[in-house]
């Protein structure tokens, strides 16, 4: 009969299946095994090997951070042209908005000026009319 540790390595047992479901989280500490499962891993070569493979996977994934895919020709030029076009569109929008504000401001100023002028005329006429009485 095979020793338990070797047997475990060859054929996953029921505890192996339960622990295996947790190992992808155990590897980065986001899942903590309970005492029974920890004891199982300590005695089970198969689960230890699987956990080691997850550690290798994580290291390999982290190593990908520094590798870059071959960038298609002209990508940066396209991106900058896209941004420039967007910048121009927003500049045109800003200019149009500015003109609209100026136009409305002009109308408002003209209206105010006309109103003020009319008020002055009315006031001066009223004064002229009252002068004889004042004397």
């Amino acid at each position: 009969m095979l020793p338990e540790r070797i047997r475990d390595r060859q054929a996953p047992t029921e505890p192996c299946t339960a622990v295996a479901a947790a190992l992808p989280g155990v590897v980065d500490g986001s899942i903590r095994l309970d005492r029974a499962d920890r004891r199982h891993v300590e005695q089970c070569l198969r689960c230890q090997a699987e956990l080691a493979q997850y550690r290798k996977l994580l290291r390999a994934m982290q190593a990908l951070r520094t590798s870059t895919a071959p960038v298609p020709t002209g990508l940066v030029t396209d991106v900058l042209a896209h941004l420039e076009a967007a910048g121009e569109r927003s500049a045109v929008r800003a200019a149009l908005t500015g003109r609209k504000v100026a136009y409305l401001g002009g109308i408002a100023a003209a209206t105010a000026a006309a109103g003020a002028g009319a008020a002055i005329v009315l006031v001066s006429r009223g004064r002229k009319g009252r002068l004889p009485l004042a004397g």
Partner: protein
């Protein structure tokens, strides 16, 4: 702020200048980061043309919102989040357009070594095998494992950019790691998981 030579400026200084509307500074940030941004986009959408679109959209969004970048994270992390969000939007739009189920039945070219002799030759290195295995993942699993394990975004950030809950992000991460581990680091005598059966079991 104006730079005599933007190519020698520090990233933080370029970011500060770009936040105040310095277009030259933003263009320099694009030049410094586009390869990284494209690589992330390529890993998330697994298609060169789609990745180009995602990169363009990401920089446009970054350009429009850099004034609101508070600087409490690294610029690169901020850009990764925007790129992830654009990729998620792009995949969602494509899924609606094509009326198919990209979540699980993704139409990714089969570049696994078993099916492609050319890939078999180039996949001799671990990195290549891993990139192929990542590309073979369904997009929703791929996005989470790429953002967490390669780009080190936390679950909250990933959940926010992909429009999912944090618990969903964790479940997807574990499933993705399990698939990658069985593909790239199989145990002796271990058969690759029957992912279709596994997915159906999870879906039910």
């Amino acid at each position: 702020m104006r730079f005599a030579d933007p190519s020698t400026a520090l990233v933080d200084d370029l970011v500060d200048a770009a936040r105040t509307g310095d277009h030259v500074a933003f263009e320099e940030l694009v030049r410094r980061t586009y390869a990284d941004t494209y690589t992330l986009a390529r890993r998330l959408v697994s298609d060169e043309e789609d990745a180009r679109d995602v990169v363009q959209e990401a920089y446009l969004r970054a350009y429009r919102s850099i004034g609101r970048f508070r600087g409490d994270a690294q610029f690169s992390t901020w850009l990764y989040r925007i790129t992830a969000n654009c990729a998620s939007t792009h995949l969602g739009r494509r899924r609606r357009h094509r009326h198919d189920e990209l979540d699980e039945e993704v139409d990714v070219p089969d570049t696994s070594p078993d099916h492609d002799p050319a890939a078999m030759a180039t996949a001799s290195l671990l990195r290549d095998r891993l990139e192929v295995a990542i590309a073979d993942l369904p997009p929703r699993l791929r996005a989470v494992v790429v953002l967490r394990d390669i780009y080190d975004l936390n679950h909250a950030q990933i959940a926010e950019e992909l429009g999912i809950t944090e618990s969903a992000a964790k479940v997807r991460l574990h499933r993705a790691r399990r698939r990658l581990r069985t593909q790239v680091f199989p145990l002796r005598g271990e058969e690759p998981l029957d992912h279709e059966v596994e997915d159906q079991a999870h879906a039910s």
